[in-house]
């Protein structure tokens, strides 16, 4: 019995989109957690790439089991987040954005030029070990965790420092600690998404985690909003499905992202899901 090619085509297309939806949902949450604390990171793709490369190398070179690969895929970007975040978080606002863009570009050059990391050819033959259910279970867990944290003193402190950092300090919010903690959480989540996507696609390359995906991830949250953790995930769903609906215009993806960012900033300052969650649990 053989499957007709069109059916198999459909299945693989569908499969890719379903994986992308879950992975992009996780990436959107990794963006959300930094934005929610009033910071701008453009390093989400870099953190994702670190997770992807770390996990792929562990799998390919050391034949590590998948369950052991995932924590490593979170720890490696966390180490880089501490490295970049530690010094820049003392400084205000835009320095983190600049430093994280820099991180992405430096890492791309490293992947490209170090043969042990696959060089320009990237890494191929990665087993498709990430089960679909796991991707969605992790997305649901991340949503739940952020939802609950949002409705506590931590969520209030984050919104307070985003709204007025000086007033938040005067209320006793340890702004620097919150900045670092949210960046670390964000890096861990992006690294996890990177490992899951690398283990769903069989191939990763140095150009998969550059500036363009960084902007895409930012646009998930800009389009969806950050009034609740659901909002950026909605943004990711829309921006993942939109290009699929406009197949044949794949080259327009970057333009589409740019247009979405501009329109969202101009006309939807609170995003598609403008609703703001309540910040208390009682």
């Amino acid at each position: 019995m053989s499957v007709p090619p069109w059916l198999s085509d459909l299945f693989w297309t569908y499969q890719n989109v379903v994986v992308s939806l879950g992975v992009n949902g996780l990436l959107a949450l990794s963006m959300y957690v930094v934005l929610a604390a009033g910071q701008l990171s453009l390093g989400q793709a870099a953190f994702m790439g670190l997770g992807a490369y770390a996990s792929a190398l562990l799998t390919l070179r050391l034949h590590a089991p998948f369950w052991a690969v995932l924590p490593a895929a979170m720890l490696v970007p966390v180490a880089f987040a501490l490295l970049v975040g530690g010094p820049t978080l003392r400084l205000a606002g835009v320095y983190l954005a600049i430093a994280t863009i820099g991180l992405g570009e430096v890492l791309r050059a490293v992947y490209l030029n170090v043969d042990a990391l696959g060089g320009a050819l990237g890494l191929s033959g990665i087993p498709e070990a990430a089960p679909l259910w796991l991707i969605y279970a992790l997305l649901a867990a991340a949503l739940l965790v952020f939802w609950r944290i949002g409705r506590s003193r931590v969520g209030r402190a984050m919104e307070a420092m985003r709204s007025d950092e000086t007033a938040a300090l005067a209320m006793g919010v340890n702004v620097r600690r919150y900045r670092l903690a949210t960046l670390v959480a964000s890096a861990a989540l992006a690294g996890l998404a990177g490992a899951l996507s690398a283990h769903s696609t069989d191939f990763i390359g140095p150009n998969d985690y550059g500036f363009e995906p960084a902007v895409s991830i930012l646009s998930f949250a800009l389009l969806g909003g950050i009034g609740s953790p659901i909002a950026p995930v909605v943004g990711a769903v829309v921006l993942t499905l939109l290009p699929e609906l406009m197949r044949g215009f794949a080259e327009l993806r970057l333009i589409l992202n740019g247009v979405v960012i501009v329109l969202a900033v101009l006309f939807l300052p609170r995003g598609l899901v403008a609703w703001r969650m309540r910040r208390r649990a009682a």
């Binding site: 609950r148 003193r153 307070a160 005067a170 340890n174 910040r279 208390r280």
Partner: protein, 263 residues
């Protein structure tokens, strides 16, 4: 007992000394006013005390503990609260959530307890909401808890700022021109509010231009001029002090007043 002790506290900006070797002892009760003409350094003094601005020289002790090197948030956790000359609320958050942020240092539930919504965490949140509502009731905003802070009128916003600062029951509350922009009736209500804050055991350090308000409320008055402390004493003494009159009215008017008094 001295709650706040400033020694030789100074803050220099390029070409100007905003606060100049100020010594001050604030006892652990009552209302203590800091007055002075525009630009005298009152807000800078508050920023130094609360840790938002670093001193160029001098020390700050809170409750006998040197806090000069402590960050603003750490000082807040020691029971130091403040309001701002230009109101700084968390605009998108609700009135109740604003008051709840004032309790931030008092809430101890771990991240794990929050994520698992343990019984202890829920109890702590319930207590926090009750205390935040009490703080709102104290300033007459108990019915507005669910509204966005940005929806409040100017006078209400000023009162919410006080409620937010008071929610955590601080030891010392710094009020930077709380009566500015209030109508006479609101100013009277504010006076009653400050009294009740003091009665509840919080010491108040007050910067204010409304002299009637200051004189009627304060146990002591400190006068700054060009960053320097030129007077410290009771309100009655302040009113009679030539240096204070001069700082407020200018040398010429002061001389004339004294001249006419002698004539």
């Amino acid at each position: 007992m001295t709650l706040l002790a400033l020694r030789g506290l100074s803050r220099r900006y390029a070409g100007l000394t905003a606060v100049d070797r100020v010594d001050l002892d604030v006892p652990a009760q009552g209302v203590h006013a800091v007055i002075g003409p525009n630009g005298a350094g009152k807000t800078t003094l508050f920023n130094l005390i609360s840790g938002l601005v670093a001193p160029s020289a001098g020390t700050i002790a809170l409750d006998g503990r040197d806090v000069t090197r402590l960050a603003a948030d750490a000082r807040a956790r020691l029971g130091l609260a403040r309001t701002f000359q230009a109101v700084r609320l968390f605009a998108d958050m609700t009135v109740l959530e604003n008051a709840l942020t004032g309790l931030h240092p008092r809430l101890r539930s771990s991240l794990a307890a929050i994520v698992l919504r343990t019984r202890g965490f829920r109890r702590e949140e319930r207590n926090a909401v009750a205390r935040a509502r009490d703080a709102l009731a104290m300033v007459g905003l108990e019915r507005r808890g669910g509204e966005r802070a940005a929806a409040l009128s100017y006078g209400e916003a000023r009162r919410l700022e006080i409620a937010r600062a008071m929610a955590g029951a601080p030891r010392l509350l710094l009020l930077d021109e709380p009566a500015a922009g209030l109508n006479p009736a609101e100013t009277v209500t504010l006076g009653t509010l400050v009294r009740s804050i003091v009665d509840a055991g919080t010491t108040v350090l007050l910067v204010e231009h409304d002299m009637k308000f200051v004189m009627g409320l304060s146990d002591s008055v400190t006068v700054l001029n060009f960053g320097r402390r030129i007077f410290h004493g009771t309100p009655a003494e302040a009113r009679a002090d030539p240096a204070v009159i001069e700082a407020y009215l200018g040398a010429k008017v002061a001389a004339r007043l004294q001249g006419s008094a002698h004539a």
